[in-house]
Symmetry: C2
Subunit: 361 residues, 2 copies
């Protein structure tokens, strides 16, 4: 029996997608072959790849000057691939809002100058900046990099930063497709699939012609975005099963509608944050204005009680509520596939736990 899954990633997938994936593993459509067993150059797989690209372009309102890639190596590969291609000794501004931003900064420093335009590190990454808080970008800034949702701290930008004349680069791993976003203004978007789009092992990259024109042409092909675009993600064998699942998820997102998912995600987050604010037993870890709708981070204020919370929850069929090992506390991830039944079960559990374990002094 399937239990309620609040994992921060790899996260829960929509059940109709899981059913479709089970079928396709044995026989994909009427091809007589499983989706994991066919050549990536077969018409069978080509159809899946083109469908996934086309669906993502529709969902993110991408322009003709933007290209969709399905790469490997996770978001972390993009941490170095981006500056390796376009920084080239120049400078870029990074907004430091969490573990993953900091990792991106570390890698970028190998290839040029990083200006940290904003950092909430000293405040345990409790918030993201407001629009323009990073001031004017230095002359010659190649790009502005930000992380739209921070899975560890539980913060999220509720606007798109203005990069001025610089290129706009975003790690959208953990909130991509969680609401309507006009993707046409981005020069590079990257996202590990394992939160809102599919299984781990695929990185979705959207890259603009402007970004491609700035790339260093001496990179090995696999690290060179223009080559990957020219080869349509098939310079080598891509993660075919992963791309199939992504295509199914994108079809499911189209069926649900981004507006409906936006409303669902907002309502689910409101339900849990509402309890955190209502019950003195709990305290949210992020500033209210920066709260993530994807990853709700909170604590009882007592490490031993936090541990009891997630352990007892697991026994009751609520899985994945332990906070990230770097910050402790508790975390409930509410990605697109999260069900209302799971959120209701969590809310009920939180009320009972608070009643049983008194209130924080």
């Amino acid at each position: 029996m399937r239990i309620h899954n609040f994992s921060a990633g790899p996260g829960a997938l929509p059940e109709p997608v899981l059913r479709a994936a089970q079928d396709a593993l044995w026989e994909h459509g009427s091809h007589g072959i499983g989706i994991a067993e066919c050549s990536h150059r077969s018409p069978q797989f080509e159809e899946v790849l083109q469908s996934a690209k086309s669906r993502l372009k529709t969902l993110m309102s991408l322009g003709d000057d933007q290209h969709v890639l399905f790469l490997q190596g996770g978001a972390r590969q993009q941490f170095y691939q981006i500056p390796m291609n376009v920084l080239r000794g120049g400078r870029a501004t990074y907004l430091d809002t969490g573990t993953w931003s900091a990792g991106a900064i570390d890698d970028a420093r190998r290839y040029g100058t990083v200006d940290v335009g904003f950092s909430s590190r000293e405040q345990r990454y409790h918030r993201v900046p407001t629009q323009g808080e990073w001031g004017t970008l230095p002359e010659g800034t190649v790009y502005l990099h930000y992380t739209s949702n921070n899975t560890v701290a539980g913060t999220e930008y509720h606007y798109v930063p203005d990069a001025g004349d610089a290129m706009l680069v975003c790690d959208m791993s953990s909130d991509i497709l969680s609401r309507p976003v006009d993707g046409s203004g981005f020069d590079l978007i990257y996202a590990g699939a394992q939160k809102n789009m599919g299984p781990s092992g695929v990185t979705v990259v959207v890259v603009s012609d402007r970004f491609l024109a700035a790339c260093d042409d001496t990179m090995p092909g696999l690290l060179h975005y223009p080559t990957e675009v020219k080869k349509d993600s098939m310079l080598n064998t891509p993660n075919t099963f992963g791309i199939f699942v992504i295509d199914e998820v994108l079809g499911w997102v189209l069926d649900q509608g981004l507006d409906a998912l936006d409303a669902k995600n907002g309502a689910q987050a409101d339900a849990i944050y509402g309890l955190i604010d209502e019950l003195p037993r709990y305290r949210g870890l992020a500033e209210k204005a920066s709260r993530s709708r994807m990853n709700v981070t909170f604590t009882t204020g007592d490490a031993a009680l936090d541990t009891l919370f997630w352990k007892q929850a697991l026994e009751e069929g609520l899985s994945g509520l332990k906070g990230h090992r770097s910050v402790g506390g508790l975390r409930a991830s509410l990605y697109n596939a999260q069900t209302d039944a799971a959120v209701e079960a969590l809310a009920s559990y939180m009320r009972r736990f608070a009643a049983e374990h008194g209130e924080d002094g």
Copy 2:
């Protein structure tokens, strides 16, 4: 209904593995969560990872000084990751026996001097060298690199090259686990999983302490083997579903036994090569002593007839027989999961086709 699948990769998977993967997608064991939906740091996945490592160590007779990694980016990522880490302006000898060797050479040249110890390129890669044919390795050679099986040309080494004092590096993508091989003498083995081990999107890497000690410590973590070993393949989220399937395949290989698979693979290849040699309609593309047991390449000697062969075969439920686009002709891939029923169906079809289409002049 499933048809016979001769795809060169991603290739056919054992049917019991597909059934296990279907089940685990919905609910893995009694965890209440699908294998693609759990955190890579959960005990649920950790068990899978350790099992896969341990099974591979057993199957390949690896030593305590060797480490198993599950990376991303395919074999092609290893083309640059290897020289980037250990070549560092020095020299390495490459044996050029096909498309993939040549790709590895191209990438290695960015990081040092490549001595091509042997090349059959001018003869359309019709053979691999005999032991020692590359002569004495130049003074200071860091490693000897070879491709144990060449999927495009259909050739295979039937011995392990002697690298002398240099480190031994092998792209074993397409014949790993097809027979007993003592892996303990290798400094680095890499293999894309999508031929003999699982779906695409995972690269199995075996790396020795000697190799790790030679690595450049200024690499980004994701490209730095010692960091990947220290993090046990989890510097970032690995391809969890892919690793699960690999673990299931490794369990299946242990159940079959490498000796039994060796015998099966030999018998299947002999059956098809036997027909190629018996029927004048067909001609093998590789020299006999270098023939691959994994990828049987052949032709009718007539491009239009080759096309008719694979198209008509597809109608009869024999899929994936078209040769690689770079060489044309025909190719039957006979990886571990290939069934005797499929090989018998192919043999029968080859006889009928030869009878119907006369003999080559």
